[in-house]
Symmetry: D2
């Protein structure tokens, strides 16, 4: 079987998730190309050699440019912070190599557009790790909407609520605009915009109003406990929007929504039914089928673990033997292999152009919050 030599750039939380994905995918899926964990890049201070040994990467490097340009590397995988996506991605594209990056695609809209344009011009295949699309319940939602099960979509409400960012949390890169681009917005609303575009199959056309708020304006620096620095990103962003098909929508990302550790969810109401999802019960999809006899209508909790009928899970365990967070990455690694082998993915993967579209919506929300006015997505280039 053809081999696919992967290079991983970055070794934080996402570096672990990607390493696991490349290590697991061929064990559970019949891959059309066999990914090889070739090289991992890390800063010297990060000790990439130890990381490589732990996760099974054959080589470690502290020079990402040489890794990206190495003739042995077939796919460049970026698990770096947002501000470090554009440069290596453009290098990979320049080298004519497929590239997959963490989400959001970049820290700024300019970078996102440049990346999308470069990929298009070079004709290089690109991917973004919007891994929640590959949660079987979300993929099933996409399918059911595609089959017309919801009728006309009227309402979308999407919230991604977390609660880890209280006063005790120091000033990590995620709280500074120069590294992160934005706060909860780019981290969490990015998933919501991607997921709702994916599930509805529709584009967002306007942000009708928005609020961005930073509750905790100063945090201790990570280096010296006594010193404080300014938080320059949002703690929360809420916005109202409209979809191309006429639906109205609300979005909310938050990091201080006490009790919600990872409540990434949506509810989509159509004229024939409704779908509801919350990642905290990621194996389940809620479906209200308004076409059933009224006496037995209700909210149905679909346990999305039936191999023969639900996406991806047939490669894992028997019915109701749940899968977890990292499986979305493994499922996406499988689909990346398929696309690189010329086969269609199980459900669509966003490429840089698609992720740029998500980024435009996110930017529109920030503009709307700052300028206190509605913003059409067409305004945002």
């Amino acid at each position: 079987m053809q081999r696919l030599n992967v290079a991983l750039i970055g070794q934080g939380f996402m570096g672990r998730a990607h390493s696991n994905a490349w290590g697991q995918v061929a064990k559970f899926f019949k891959v059309p190309v066999r990914p090889v964990m070739h090289t991992v890049f890390g800063q010297e201070t990060e000790n990439p050699q130890a990381f490589a040994e732990n996760w099974g990467w054959q080589h470690a490097s502290t020079d990402w440019r040489s890794v990206v340009n190495s003739p042995e590397i077939d796919l460049v995988d970026l698990a770096t912070p947002n501000f470090m996506h554009a440069e290596p991605a453009l290098a990979a594209i320049a080298a004519g190599k497929p590239c997959v990056t963490e989400k959001p695609i970049a820290a700024t809209l300019d970078e996102a557009r440049t990346m999308a344009e470069a990929a298009k011009k070079a004709g290089v295949k690109t991917f973004v790790w919007f891994n929640y699309r590959r949660c079987p319940a979300v993929a099933l939602a996409h399918r059911l909407v595609g089959e017309g099960k919801l009728g006309d979509i009227r309402h979308v409400r999407a919230t991604y609520l977390q609660d880890w960012a209280d006063e005790s949390i120091p000033l990590a890169w995620r709280f500074e605009k120069q590294w992160a681009g934005s706060g909860a917005h780019g981290d969490l609303n990015a998933h919501l915009v991607d997921m709702t575009r994916f599930v509805t199959g529709q584009e967002i056309t306007e942000v009708a109003g928005a609020i961005a708020e930073t509750f905790i304006k100063k945090r201790k620096r990570m280096t010296a406990a006594a010193d404080e620095g300014d938080v320059t990103v949002d703690d929360t962003v809420l916005f109202l929007a409209r979809f191309a098909g006429g639906a109205v929508a609300s979005f909310e990302a938050a990091r201080q929504a006490t009790g919600n550790q990872n409540a990434c969810g949506f509810e989509i109401n159509g004229t024939k039914g409704t779908l509801k999802f919350n990642f905290e019960r990621m194996n389940e999809l809620q479906y209200y089928d308004a076409t059933l006899p009224r006496a037995v209508q209700g909210w149905t909790t679909i346990m999305c673990t039936h191999g023969a009928d639900h996406p991806y899970v047939g490669n894992w365990w028997p019915d109701a033997h749940l899968i977890g967070y990292e499986h979305g990455f493994v499922n996406e690694a499988y689909d990346i292999c398929r696309v690189l082998a010329g086969e269609p993915p199980v459900v669509p993967i966003p490429d840089f152009a698609d992720a740029y579209q998500t980024q435009r919506v996110l930017e529109a929300a920030l503009v709307s919050a700052a300028e206190r006015r509605p913003v059409a997505i067409d305004e945002i280039k």
Copy 2:
């Protein structure tokens, strides 16, 4: 419209529930006979006059015999403790009057059989306040099983769990065999046996094994705090059983199942589907329809409040404007009026013969626990 003069015997918790039912029924339902709250009986110490004024009874009396025998009374309603059902019920039957009694039908099997036989012989209409049958979700379950939605029934599991009876609770009549007959068993398992017979439409044929246990063996007397008396009834009874159609079953009543305040529920598994109910969410019925396409199968929470399609609720409020505990009694009062007017009830009401059948099963469970052996219901007369 024809009037129905009701006499209420008893004025405790159940006396309040019945008074409310007779007062509300004609406001919400088109009754074929109009119930009149004629007379309430209470002990002198209970001040029946004040009770009558509060609830709208026209008269109060401290002589139940004269009330039962009064030519003005058309229906005798018993809300007394279990040991005080048989005597007034038999008096009502002797007087040729319809009679409705609280559950369980009586404190002993002998009394239950005597009451059922007397009613049959006299040709008098009788009823028992197994009010949970008239919870719309339970009535809907009965209907769905009747329509064949479950296929062949394989499993029944029924639990009625409460947690009020810790050490602080004194020795009320409910803890003494001479007044109550049994403890959690007659109070709670009585509902479960009635409900599962009602929903499945099948008789129980055998108790295969049972445990009766009293965790707290002495309680303070209600009269003098320093004095303790023996608890002579069970705190909990569990039993295994078989239904006529081949299903296996488990039952459990408990008063110290911490966290369960009123968890009266069942799950019934058939070859085509499952129904599940818990009174703590009494407006909801859980239905798993295994005949739907597998991709969208799941547990459906039916909010049983849709007037046009769910029993009784069309007489109350709009969709999802919930009803509560007392509505089951009002619904049953309506059905009693219907039966007395010669019309069929919305769903079947148990009469004394039917409640005697439930009592036989309860007795079989006690015999099984005491004699540590399986007991066929046919043994119990």
Copy 3:
């Protein structure tokens, strides 16, 4: 005991709910004044005499002015459509009589302000039937916030979702601006604004953005099936807002949110905890207590039926013997009796001034949607 002669103006859905409340309150509560169901007003075509007989009103009338001005009437209760609140309310105030009206307080902001000013000037006690405040779970939420259980409030999200208004529903008064003032907004967002102000104890200071949308623009007239008329109110209104204490908020009312029959709810995140409520499980309050040891933190479902510790329910049934929709009205009737007797209500009741404040927020949202800009509540008079 002092008697309180009540006159009810109106006899639709709300007329039934109010009649039930006045009939039930003294049976379950120790009222300090005893309400007497004196007179009901209805149009001749509505047959108020039959309504009076059914519900136990002593008199019926087709002349509301004479009812309001009758010296026998002590309290005027308005259960009419929104556009018919102001005139009788002002008449009651002019007659120096306490007055309670359905929500929203009026069809227009002008009417609401006029009513509030008239009541203030006359020194008349007024009330509004924002009955959800008296749902025990909501009253408990108010108490817990008052005790500081949530810490600083950061987020409020409130949605009232229904799904009854599909194409088949004809052009009732609720769909015409001249009668209803607004659509889902006044009907549903009114509850949300009232409840969140009540639970948080804070005022809303700004609407930051809003969407109002009418999906179904024409409906069949009720009179002639072939004829269609314009829907002149919203089907849905979403808006973003800020509370005085710094919290950000989102609100949404909808009538076509398939699967949500009466999902009136909120989630309020504070620095120490979160509270969550959904009327479809109205006996339950969700509480996340972030001050507990982390190992046992979680979402706690409080069954708000414990008489000794939860508001109102001690007057109803034992623990977990649920109450329903209409009980909120009975609870409010009790509190009205208390206030009229000079006693404090169990939890605060909105008067006309308070309801006018809610109306200002609702108006601000409509202005924001129409003019596509943020609107400070101070702008709205």
Copy 4:
């Protein structure tokens, strides 16, 4: 670091789960000995070479005896059907090697006793893959009971419900007594007996009554579709039991409980609180803390994913980034490494002696069902 050469005997569903565990454990945990996936055994027809390549085993063999006896092997891991546990386990013990086997420990009580005695005599460390103990929620339940959070335990109810075994399923080894020992009982009740002993810390002393039933008595042979064979094991076993501390209990295993794909759960009521678990939401533990102020008591859903406070999960992902079925095996592999390195496991692992104790309870239930009488566990040797 010291290496631990593992040999895996068997390569079905459990073979995959074990292979995954040995492959993942050192990536996520700091293991005190490093497991090496040395050799996998399979029948020739199973193609162990392909299995080895897929999962990363260094060698494959079709001769289990030589594998077990190879001086290179440090740990023998049995993933074979129940009837194939005893022989290789005894061989491993005879060779003085630690051995871990799938559950139930053996197909017959005799085998189980022989295995436990042999291990004891040889002083060999043994383990059983009762993997649900290592589900963080179950391990947390064990801890909370150990801390006295439940007070005195009064009730245990445990059900393991599945629904895969309808008429369409052919006569696999699981349906024949000679291979499986029993049906749902050994497969599912084994987990329940192990888990409830583990969580309560108490032994079961008596089976008070039992039902074993086979609904589908004949199934198509796997070899020839036209031919049918007898099902010689149970489809369902229910039994009542008593724990040493006085608690009463019910157990139920079923394979035709429609709608329950993998509902392995328990509820344990104590005088101070209750714990409830269902594997279908395996990341969650339900806790009712009856020592909290009554106003805020309720069922708390603990998301058991907080690394600092919940067992095992700190080695996986951030809060509420769920783990799945296979993680229990990885967690157990970690604890096996700890025990073999002389360190205590995070929570106790059952050895053969402990699993034999579970087997005695299972046997008592079968005897009780067959002989229709209570059976003390002391009877069963």
